[in-house]
Symmetry: C2
Subunit: 476 residues, 2 copies
């Protein structure tokens, strides 16, 4: 047997990798494409010099080609796709931003999309097809090989953002009676195996996973040993309908490289590998800041109309709460008319409450998202936030109280603003933890709606405590 007869995929792949020249000339110190490089591509696309564009782009890693598409303007992207058709392999599509991919996919005929999808892992093919119109999706599926089509249709039947959409069906599973030697022979002879795998799953006769075996163990154990003696009995089976955020948390918690996905009957139906989870970990951890600020998923490649709609919806809700808070001020119009300085100082009290509330909210939302805050330590955390709010409320109250008292020569005013500052800080600390914890118990994502409630509370409490105390103590 010559090397050429054997595992040709592996050799081809290696040769291709070896050929890929280091493309560092086009990358800056942050490993993003240089501005000059992008400019040059742009100029050549404008001039219709497709061959030169091809030569420039050819040495790039697929991930960098995907970045290049995202950096170009929307109308330049199809031009680039035409210029580098040969390079538009499945890896590039797998790396593309969803919105950019959708536009490119829509500009291609169904047959071509089907060809690309067939080369992709199931999870990447699903990502490519799941956002298409039902009609376009059917057209593409109709062009695919029955086996690939079935795999994608099954994956699409699972809920969005579930393990079923994320998993790959390319994995290696072997029966429990095998020895290490049997497994090595199987791997060396099998021709239709997954391209890349890190662990082998051992299954029983009903295809239920019993354990996993790292390749490094297999390489280091005597051939005669039974797999069931070296395998690790798997602690982390992923149900096929598990939400991807939960999947990501398991991978993190148990430092997994790959994990078995099982259906409702406990049968092994797929595997998820850590490289598919890494971008979810990043997205899920990064989305809290976007959700808390009401910026939707904050994707800069999203069509601008969608972005405007998402952000406006949030702003209109906030307008409602701002009007509510201002109606509290309205109750004290008379006092403000008599003593306008109150209007000058009141935004300080409400604003500082907002700042303190946002601090607590950010900490609590992250602690909930990372499962650090659970029912076992909620009370301790509430106590902790109360003490922080008390300490900072006192400090800020003394600071602003002294300042106002001295600057305006009005000790009474100083005491009123100091007291209001303390009250509003306490409100901020308590609302900052109680609101997200309550929403979480009600199975509502605390990142999505907590901020509205908390700022409403700190705004109204800020105005009411400061203006109310002023009137109550006869200041105005």
């Amino acid at each position: 047997m010559t090397p050429e007869d054997f595992a040709p995929d592996v050799l081809e792949e290696a040769a291709a990798a070896a050929e890929t020249a280091r493309a560092s000339d086009s990358l800056d110190e942050e490993n993003t494409l240089k501005r000059d490089f992008v400019r040059k591509v742009r100029a050549l696309l404008d001039a219709g010099e497709d061959d030169q564009v091809y030569d420039l782009v050819e040495p790039l890693h697929p991930a960098d080609i995907a970045d290049l598409f995202e950096l170009l303007d929307a109308d330049e992207r199809p031009l680039l796709a035409e210029a580098i058709t040969d390079l538009m392999g499945s890896e590039v599509f797998a790396e593309l931003n969803d919105h950019v991919r959708e536009l490119l996919v829509e500009s291609l005929p169904a047959g071509e999309v089907a060809d690309i999808a067939e080369q992709l892992d199931t999870d990447d093919a699903v990502a490519m097809l799941e956002d298409l119109d039902h009609e376009d999706q059917q057209a593409v599926l109709a062009e695919m090989e029955p086996e690939d089509r079935a795999a994608i249709e099954t994956a699409l039947s699972y809920p969005e953002e579930s393990a079923g959409r994320l998993m790959s069906r390319d994995f290696v599973a072997v029966p429990e009676h095998m020895t290490v030697g049997d497994l090595i022979d199987f791997l060396r002879e099998g021709s239709d195996l997954a391209n890349e795998f890190w662990e082998v799953f051992i299954v029983d006769a009903r295809h239920h996973p019993l354990g996993t075996c790292q390749l490094s163990w297999i390489l280091r154990c005597p051939r005669s040993i039974a797999l069931t003696d070296v395998m690790k009995r798997d602690q982390t089976l992923i149900p096929v309908d598990m939400d991807q955020e939960e999947v990501a948390l398991r991978f993190q918690k148990y430092a997994l490289i790959s994990a078995a996905v099982v259906d409702g009957d406990g049968r092994l139906v797929g595997q998820i590998t850590v490289d598919d989870v890494v971008h979810i970990i990043q997205e899920e951890a990064g989305e809290d800041v976007l959700l808390l600020s009401g910026a939707g998923d904050g994707d800069i490649n999203e069509p601008i109309r969608m972005t405007i709609r998402t952000r406006l919806a949030w702003l209109v809700v906030n307008l409602g709460t701002a009007i509510l808070a201002s109606s509290v001020v309205g109750l004290f119009q008379g006092a403000i008319g008599r003593f306008a300085l109150l209007a000058v100082l009141m935004p300080i009290v409400s604003g500082m409450g907002g700042n303190a509330g946002t601090q607590t909210l950010a900490v609590v939302v992250r602690a909930l998202a990372t499962n650090q805050l659970t029912s076992s330590n909620t009370w301790r955390m509430i106590g902790r936030e109360f003490r922080i709010a008390m300490a900072n409320g006192l400090a800020l109250g003394v600071l602003i109280g002294l300042g106002v008292g001295l600057v305006f020569g009005n000790a009474h005013l100083g005491m009123v603003i100091a007291a209001a500052m303390l009250i509003n800080n306490l409100m901020a600390g308590l609302a900052g933890i109680l609101v997200p914890v309550t929403l979480d118990r009600l199975k509502v994502d605390p990142a999505v709606s907590s901020a509205v409630f908390v700022t409403t509370m700190t705004d109204t409490t800020g105005f009411f405590s400061f203006l109310g105390l002023a009137v109550l103590t006869g200041l105005a």
Copy 2:
């Protein structure tokens, strides 16, 4: 040769894993420890029933034992450590929160800490020792084997949060002249190899990495093939002083499982594996919301004094900006005295600007952090944010303008607030992108200080535009 002679580590490990009973009784549906379980541990600790505590905790995964420590109150943690000394293996320490680990480590004698550190991978041992006082650190190092000590001292010589601190020195590297068969024999015979590895590095005579070989390729290639023919020529060498955030971005971008770390001379000095990077990806992506809100690193296990200090520092800076904004209102005291309704409505204009600014800020900070916003597309993004601000400013202006005009029967007032709302939204959109982009160019983390600038701008612009237009148009 019997199985017992061979690779005893592997077998022992597997047996241990097989013994670990599934601990699902103690976990809830979110895979966190049940409240009842934590309560029971607590009660038994109080009662001094250490044996029963041990029996309860023993089936848990090390990651769950670490979680248990974090869920207990600070004064209960040393009690638990005493009750389960045998179970306090290196894995538990590796999983512990930094602050919790520091306290536990400080309560142990140097010799015991040294024993634990010697069992850990270099990167975990470094994480355990790097936060100790210099004196305590030296005491522990003095108790360690010279080889382990040298490894840790070298790691500690690299900057904090750099690849050098993150990397492990346990990796498999082989010379370039080997064939697949040589490598397999080497792996099967080598006794002092890393416990877990996924790829093998191929190096030249000067120990410069030439490429990597996945274990699955080795298992599937004929023995006679030269490694240099199957290896992938590595595109992603990590310099030992690279910041961990950059490291995480590379792993994500190129979907790496492991990567070679090289020193200044290009020599292979360590490897970073994806499981060490996953928690960094999560931390770095999640920290933006904490930094933007001024909550420091938002660690709920941090000593409360540190938390108070961090948050108060931020609040005092914000107090300064709030006073600045209120001084703008002070310019218009006369007008407010004559027409107190201005004071009622002005917080709406400033607050809505703050909300819109926060939206843009969140999107831009994330886009910068994920390298999606680079110098190549900054202008397009500025244009995009301007169009969004214009659209939403017009919509909100019309809405509030009509509302105010109708409710108060004052068209003039309605037009003033509508115009102010539009102006402040444009300020919010532009400040929301220009401030973080400028800070990023100046190599300042935009998440840390952008929010102060942006809210100062939207507060002052909100007050100034609304009150200024009111006075300028003769409303008050």
